[in-house]
Symmetry: C2
Subunit: 333 residues, 2 copies
């Protein structure tokens, strides 16, 4: 055990598509926790499309700058504590950034119960699973018999949204890129129908897949797919606005989808934007319900674990290109 702390720095802000060359591997001294802080060891870093959005400007967090250690949430273990609420050995989920060690103020950290496998704390019981759970149930509000459409359907959130929608008695249609992924949506992830957005006219394909219209659209991508769904919504449909992946990896977002707000009015739609942490007051109940579905086999967990801190840049670039199925994370320590 040395005193080094390997880090990945965002060396340069991307002007357009993010590439691994925007990052730099470096090493710093392991930090010492100040009073009220804990020293944590990074175990698994979560890869999320939002990582890219943070480079575009302020969102729900301040924008990243060139030279910053790349930000990112991770499952981490407390190694040294100078705070009353945490002790060595405790697990936390924290914005450690892309580095092996971090000294963090303890007051915003909450101990997470340990369970096996640890990776589930990042996937189904972590941000991905809770985002799917709250976004679908609180914002989408599917009823039995509804048609629920999810974009980025093979991704960490989409794969769980589809399964929860099935548990709630809905008919599910997943949107993903490529024939292979679409086959997998039906064979592995339990979707009733799949739409390949790389195969041509998404609006027409959705109309065929959703003859009675879309009652709930869980939007992970924005852009043209959002527009195609908007035109296929049923009256009184709900759109859960979770993210705009299609808009993150480029310059500033383009003009928005046609049909806003005209179709929102005539179809009497409700669009709700949400961020998972807004719902954390009831996180324990949500995790308990997810655990029940996993235990009964109704909810299958799909993870994509890559090994090694140095592989983080490539893992994020690949995630933005849609190469993962299920929750992507990088094992660091």
């Amino acid at each position: 055990m040395t005193d080094a702390n390997r880090q990945i720095v965002l060396a340069e802000l991307p002007q357009d598509k993010l590439a691994a060359s925007h990052f730099r591997l470096t090493s710093a001294a392991r930090p010492a926790p100040a009073e009220g802080e804990v020293l944590v060891k990074t175990l698994y870093v979560s890869l999320d499309a939002a990582n890219r959005a943070w480079m575009q400007g302020a969102t729900y967090r301040s924008a990243l700058k060139a030279g910053d250690v790349m930000a990112g949430g991770a499952l981490a273990e407390v190694v040294e504590s100078r705070a009353a609420n945490l002790a060595p050995g405790d697990l936390v989920f924290a914005d450690t950034g892309w580095q092996e060690w971090a000294a963090l103020p303890a007051r915003h950290l909450t101990k997470i119960p340990r369970l096996d496998p640890l990776t589930h704390l990042i996937s189904v019981y972590g941000v991905a699973g809770l985002t799917a759970y709250y976004g679908l149930l609180e914002c989408g509000r599917p009823k039995a018999g509804d048609t629920v459409v999810v974009s980025a359907a093979a991704g960490s959130v989409g794969a769980i949204v589809g399964q929860i929608a099935k548990i709630k008695g809905a008919r599910t249609v997943g949107i993903a890129g490529g024939a292979a992924k679409c086959a997998l949506l039906k064979s592995e992830l339990g979707f009733d129908e799949a739409v390949d957005y790389k195969a041509g006219d998404v609006r027409r394909a959705l109309r065929a897949a959703c003859p009675d219209g879309i009652n709930v659209y869980f939007d992970n991508v924005g852009g043209d797919i959002f527009e195609a769904c908007l035109f296929n919504m049923a009256e009184h449909g709900r759109i859960a606005c979770c993210g705009a992946l299609s808009q993150y990896d480029g310059a500033a977002p383009r003009a928005g989808p046609r049909g806003v707000p005209g179709l929102i009015v005539t179809k009497r739609l409700t669009l709700t934007g949400f961020i998972v942490s807004d719902f954390y007051a009831t996180r324990d109940q949500a995790v308990a319900e997810l655990q029940g579905w996993v235990a009964s086999g109704q909810l299958k967990v799909h993870e994509d674990v890559i090994d090694g801190l140095e592989n983080l840049p490539g893992a994020l670039v690949g995630l933005l290109a849609g190469e993962n199925v299920g929750k992507r994370m990088v094992k660091v320590g």
Copy 2:
């Protein structure tokens, strides 16, 4: 009393801006009601931006075709009845179209209690007032202290939205075109602030008028003003999507506002499209509450009554150009 029935026909569908020349005054025989129908005499025709939207394609009603008698809602009086639910002398609000007489199936018509002045049945207790009432209270849900922004603020709906928002303890900002109208928003309609969208950068003017952001935006116009509001929304803000006036008088709607859905997510906004008739189950309570506010002087009624069936085309063209203050209608009979 002759047997003639003067009518205004939509002679030609507009390809771009609507003009009076798209209409033609004509005369037909007065219709005779069939079994189950009533013959009504048109008293006041309501002018609404939606009249123009009906020419673009199917909305919540089927699209208008060239050669149709122009559609339009009106306050009308039953003159002859072949239905059990209505008798001569009863008042109804019906899609009579732009004509002096209409024979209509009685089963979708409801008798309206007579009150003085009759014009209030079209303005504050009609579609305009109820649209303002339900859109603001059910979709916008303002709380005391909120900043409420309304576009087309001097129009039939906007003028009432602003006043109800004040009654609910909100701070109100109206958007309208031109210095004269903006002055009137503050002097006559009770708005706290006014933004002139013809005077330049609306996004910046809104930022100045709403330093803490917009909690509720009541959208009548869509387009660039919608976008400017979207960028100024406060977190957890609500947008009541009532109409897209800016998009009706032209060819097909353009690309949508930037920031959709990205800003919906990061600001956790809720957008709700609505059509007033969805709420008609509770119309009696709404009218009673509106009557209370009018009686107490908290809600002032602004009407713009034009005389003569032949003036309907010009009245609609002028409404689309924003020349009216308050509810515009045409006295026909």
